[in-house]
Subunit: 223 residues, 2 copies
DNA sequence: CTTGACATAGAACGAGTGTTCGGATTATAA
DNA sequence: TTATAATCCGAACACTCGTTCTATGTCAAG
């Protein structure tokens, strides 16, 4: 091997972007020659060449021998994020966090669909994960048993961010508004009638993610 | 005119259904011959014939001379419900409810997108509306200022349903779990640490809708 | 410089696909 | 029944489109 294989080059990304844009605009995928024009590639064979690579990378799926028969993989719906639910979150247990290497299978059972329009425009969805609240220990955060919390991976926070925090010294997980004060951190409950807790700066404090959204499905089934 | 023009015949509907199904399954639209097979039409010309009609009816859109270049018109994002936000909801004000006759313009500003997968399978979306909570008077329902409550129009409720209730005698709006008891209604807060309120059966009580979901967007902007 | 993987180009081919046209069939109003 | 519009069929045709093959260019390691 004289030259090592690269990952996603500009060309790859440009093609992927164009496919997404084209589908959004037309409602159906582009033909290979459309991709030629859009990317400035002058030969259909080159596009074929890249499409084959993208297929092998798992970025797109193709049904051969048929025109326009390609689709973006893991893009079930362009208007939705399907966010993996990594596990339960409870006051007494550490927070499950995404593993850098792993990919998560987020089907309808262990994932949650969130409309893109509900999240910030720039949000790409890659660092989002969800946790299902277990028990009633998050009531001070106005979060109930069974609620789903959407988080974005983070290890630090700005003042005013609502974050998921693991306090190793106390064996405690908590969701609070985060404020850095002179000698301590102030962790403010969302419920304005409740009092903040204070953590001295020498006490370990692990921020696991920023809370982006809370979704509560009210089961009318449960009597 | 010997034979009057019908609207949508079985054939038309069958073709539309198949296109939708095919797009869902494959991620791109079917070729004319695919439609032939699916509908039992033995000639491509007949499909062309119907596609032309469907185009004229505005049911589909086509870009001619190109394969698979068709899409369902007004395809309202089959995976999303866009639910109109009718107004604010507060403890001291009546609940805005949908007007039977009116249609609501639910754009991204005064509407909220909710993934179909988050609602019951049978849900059609027609009777859904949303309200934005104003103030902190719903804290007993674990609902905060700014939360969005998704409701389904209803004027009665089963035990255990969470409902939006207007109590005319008290000039009070509230969100509670609803239980009918012997001589009274018990309205139970979602927060298990809080006490229920009781309403005698002779006191007027208007159920406006069942709560289906609560969505909280955590603004990290607000410091 | 040579080598070999990676990248690009162009052209030719054949299968996929939409269109068109003549003609047959069916249903319904008169 | 008859006339007419609606519907349907099959085949032919032309264009679209994906594939394949050959040739050339680029770049970095040996």
């Amino acid at each position: 091997m004289v030259r090592t294989k690269k990952g996603l080059t500009d060309r790859h990304q440009k093609i992927l972007d164009f496919i997404e844009e084209y589908v959004n605009k037309h409602g159906y995928p582009p033909a290979i020659r459309d991709i030629c024009v859009a990317t400035g590639i002058s030969s259909t064979s080159v596009v074929t060449y890249y499409l084959k690579q993208l297929t092998e990378m798992g970025k797109i799926e193709r049904d051969e021998k048929s025109s326009r028969a390609l689709r973006l993989a893991n893009a079930p719906r362009r208007d939705l994020f399907r966010i993996p639910i990594l596990g339960p979150i409870a006051a007494g247990a550490p927070i499950p966090v995404p593993d850098a290497g792993a990919t998560y299978i987020a089907d309808e059972i262990n994932g949650v669909d969130v409309a893109r329009s509900l999240l910030p425009k720039e949000e790409k969805g890659a660092q989002l994960f969800a946790l299902k609240v277990q028990g009633e220990s998050m009531i001070d955060a106005m979060i109930n048993d069974g609620d789903i919390v959407i988080l974005k991976s983070a290890i630090e926070a700005k003042n005013g961010d609502m974050v998921a925090i693991w306090l190793p010294a106390r064996d405690e997980t908590t969701l609070k508004y985060f404020y850095k004060e002179k000698e301590r951190y102030r962790l403010q409950p969302a419920n304005p009638t409740m009092q903040p807790i204070y953590v001295n700066k020498d006490e370990p404090l692990e921020i696991k993610g920023k809370v982006m959204m809370v979704i509560r499905r009210v089961d009318t089934v449960a009597a």
